[in-house]
Subunit: 337 residues, 2 copies
Amino acid sequence: MKVVITGGAGFIGRRIAMRLLARGALAGADGRDAPIEELVLFDNAPPQLALPEDKRLKLVSGDIAEPGLMRRVIAPGTGSVFHLAAIVSAQAEEDTDIGLRVNLDGTRAVLEACRALGTVPRLVFASSLAVYGGDLPPSVSEAVPLTPQTSYGSQKAIGELLVNDYSRKGYIDGRSLRLPTIIVRPGRPNRAASTFASSIIREPLSGVDVVCPVSRDTVMPALSPRRVAEAFEKAHDLPASAFGYNRALQLPGISPTVAEMVEALRRVAGDEVVRRIQWRPDPVIQKIVDGWPRGIDGRRAERLGIRADNSMDEIIEAFIADDLPAQKALVAAGKAG
Amino acid sequence: MKVVITGGAGFIGRRIAMRLLARGALAGADGRDAPIEELVLFDNAPPQLALPEDKRLKLVSGDIAEPGLMRRVIAPGTGSVFHLAAIVSAQAEEDTDIGLRVNLDGTRAVLEACRALGTVPRLVFASSLAVYGGDLPPSVSEAVPLTPQTSYGSQKAIGELLVNDYSRKGYIDGRSLRLPTIIVRPGRPNRAASTFASSIIREPLSGVDVVCPVSRDTVMPALSPRRVAEAFEKAHDLPASAFGYNRALQLPGISPTVAEMVEALRRVAGDEVVRRIQWRPDPVIQKIVDGWPRGIDGRRAERLGIRADNSMDEIIEAFIADDLPAQKALVAAGKAG
């Protein structure tokens, strides 16, 4: 079968792609493994990170909301779609129109293209902890009403509602995963308000100075790239019956403070590395991040076999093993840091 | 100031219009009463029910999602918009595309037209109890997560998210009211799954036989046209600070069973009238209605001064006083029943 990853040039999309290429299969409509013959990575720009030479890989770039484009990308034979393409939080907050265009119109284009297939493809939608907002309990789960306090969070909550309705109507077999902040992201900082959470680990390890814009007691529910790619694959393969009437699933995660993240970095890499972090509060970023949940109740996902990381140290060690060499090469080439 | 009611030809829109014309004013941007100079009733078709001769009234019909139309209807000088236009539940369930077009694209067109004014108009959005679904507690409130089990409910939940986000960003001063079933509706049955709840009172009182498609123990949270029009007016006039970070408000209501509704009709109008009800179960309607909440916790709205009816008897008596003469005239003219 054919698989499409929107946002496939991003670091999560790429990591899912690498897992799928290695495994070579995904659950088909009957629940049994079906071989992946083609893996389309769709994004608004070509990938910056290296991809393996693999004849199953196909790269397509364009505007997700362009009329007709998603129908051509999600072509007949597509059995599964991973929909990750999005305008991130800080940018969607600043530019309402582009957020609506990509996060709402783009998601509708993806869903309509899936519906047009007539074959009920599986779809895994990347939602976010940003769907929560307002007065929150100490930890968030599917039992918490969604009153997002960012445009990005609103648009993700709308996407979840559409995924639920398209699934209920039998147009797709969808599932939405509420992602915590994914750390440590490789590459360059992006325009997500949470980007600092990766930067304060990644840049010092790469020999680059970094500014932390939030206070040390800021809590950041987090999941590693390894675990999130695993979660996408597992959520894809679960039968629809595992979800019941609600296709939205809160992913699990650990919730270190920024101070605890820095202490883990110190344990793993030493004082010299930690000294590369400078502290310069940015009230805009602090306000957005303070509106997010502080803890996660990911028990529903855990019961379905989806796991969090064991510790911040483990997250940092995974980054060092998986991504640090390439990151250092980017820095050396003047393309990051 | 200028006021626009979308869905203004419908029975709730019309009743709000009559209240506003009688009062002649609404709270302006500063919270003080501002005189209504023009009241635009927008709908997809001209009104069927009689409207008073009033030079402030202006009727416009068209397609709410037509590009540019809402910007012309919600023209400069518009201080307040009541957005009621919608494709109702059974029709949106049957025809996904028209539901998305009117309930989602239409709502976006209304919100964008308000935003384009640049004057932060007040907007009251008619949401619905259909936003709830799945495993529900005995009574629903703003504390319940929204997992609607109809396309109509999904589209209303999406509208609420957009109203919240546009308000938070300062484009509008919005509020969304979750309406229970409004009974007794005058006129003809519509394509809402709940239409029977009005029909089983209205038709017998007008001397017309009626079929009840649901069982006697079906519970129907309900509010009268009088109370819902009052709720729209009150919610409009409340300051933004009354809502906090969540502009969605669960309206209160009473929750009679169908059997209790029929017994109230018997008390008010006698056995002869009740004998006009025939019972013929429709599993499609029963299934939709069974997915809706059975009880309402409307305490947040009540604290803000919004009231439910006191009894089913009072609801029936209000219909007899307000609408039965016109209804009987419709029946006599062969236009209803």
